[in-house]
Amino acid sequence: MSAEPVDSGRRKARVLVAKLGLDGHDRGAKVVAHTLRDAGMEVIYTGLRRTAADVVAMAMDEDVDVIGLSVLSGAHIALAQQVLDELAVHHLQNEIPVVIGGTISPKDARVLREMGIADVFGVRTPLDELAPRVQLLVRDDR
């Protein structure tokens, strides 16, 4: 079973799947990358141990529509803020939406949304929801 391709009339979304900090748990990031690719999106995976500056630079180079962060070290709020700040440095905070996945409590999910994170994917989010929720964030005018 694999996810249905999303809305084939629109151009393919480009998504950067990113790992920040020292946390080496990339099982989730790779499952997400696989799922989005199956749904017809173009996915670039950063590899491990990236900084916020690395991630934003890659997002600009690759001209992605969405940045997806995977954080399992517990430092999701601090790391998400670093990426949002780095985007603001390049005046991209309203251009490239950022989503995040990991072991995130409902309380932290609210905090993240208030900070400006566009969507939060907790543990066991159904895989078939991923691509449609990411696609909603893609701006057609870019």
Binding site: L22, K30, G47, S73, A78, L79, T103
Partner: protein, 551 residues
Amino acid sequence: MTTPISDDVQRWRQRHGKKLSAVKERPSMIGPPLNVVYVPDNGDVDAEAYRRDIGLPGEFPYTRGVYPAMYRDRLWQMRLYSGFGDAESTNQRWNFLLSHGNNGVSAAFDLPTQVGLDSDAPDAIPEVGRVGVAVDCVRDFERMFAGLPVDKMGISLNAHSTAPFVFALFLAAMEKQGVQPGQITGSMTTDVLKDYVARGTWIYPPAHGIRMVGDILEFCAKEMPRFYPLVIRGPDMRDAGADAIQEVAFAFANAVTYLEYAQKRGLEIDAIATRLSAQFYYYGDFLQEAAKTRAARRIWSRLLRDRFGAKAEASLLLRITASVGGTHFQVHEPETNIIRGTLGCLGAVLGGCQGMLLAGYDEAFDIPTEDTARIALRTQQIVGYESDATAVADPLGGSWFVEQVTDEIEALVLEKMAEIDEMGGSVVAIESGYMQRQIANSAYNQERREQSGAKPIVAVNIHRGQGEPPELVVHAPDRTVADRQRAQLDTLRAERDSQETQRQLTRLRMAAEGDDNLIPVLIDCARANASLGEMVETLRGVFGEFREPAL
């Protein structure tokens, strides 16, 4: 004419008489005492095939276990993986665990230590003391082991890529306490190749990682006869999504790389293989996990004998440590993980493991609290002391199901190992991303099976119930550790003889440029109060850094 199996048993009893006669009688539920091992009646099975593939415990091919009396002689080493905050909080937790029956200590280091950063490095700060203990220099090891019976207990060091550095700091601290390397028992997760495959805690390119594994093997063969310097690891790959076949095959393929390298360096196979051990994961399918353990021992004994020409019995038998409780511990209704841990524990015990780490049931949230660590230890003790899983060696031996699964796992693992051999060995399989891709695909398929309900998980994809269960009290991290570690580093750098530190770090660089064994030089650096980060950085200048293959 083939001789009956009863003849083997007689010979086995005579050969191991001393060990076997020392075991305590174990009464059965119905009265008469239990044997140490049970074998097929004559005529039940093909005696030649039994002898070749199954045999008796403590004998080749070790399918039925590595010791003749197995748990009737002694239980496995119960050594919880533990460490957090700084040296003091870890020392305190170790004392707590030892007083509850933990056999020795198994040190968990924080991520900065695992990737070779000092606690004052900017990238390190959010992670200092979080998933393990923060260590930077010899003083941390002195404080961490203060007051513990270090020459009388097993010590496992789980530093992975930075094993050589942590090892040097540890030995320098032991020296200050008057403990010589030869007195130390325990083990070390020196297997660096699995870090490229799964843990993501790599530093240098694989060739340099392998060289340092060789340095440790050579050093320990000479200086530390009671220590297990290289644990071949599968659990990290299993946790990243590998199936049981990939777990064993990739771990053994990595072992082949180390052994071939050590032989090339001129080390005798029986000088190193006698002190190798392995570690695997144990999930809920505990009967098949037990079969995996039996298959792994059989594969190892033949691999060492036939491919490497090992002769010593201790080289042919594979001691296995079990990891229980990782990704199959659930976030939802976490106390149910106690039962999942018990199932994994049973698989490891029925398979005949020699050591076990069992995670706290709060594993999905944070490192264990005192309470959850205590229950992880009690789980093992109850299986060990209160159940008959430990009453006879290899209780599953002879089950049609388990014997067939053992054979099938063996065949599939051998097939995958041959595939990697054809590719050019495990380093090629890692640098090309082959192992990583295989594991990522398995992880994806597993997630699909779990989400579709094809793989039932109670309270997660079946019988979810209504409402939210009560919230769990999880470990509260100490946010001030990074500040204290930084202050200590500042003091260390101000107080130490900087010229001497520099001189030793320069020696380290020169040794790395040549072929000298780096361990004695690293110990000298540790004695001269070099920090872990300084040593790692010095070698980065010579060895460079690993680049992840794109997937």
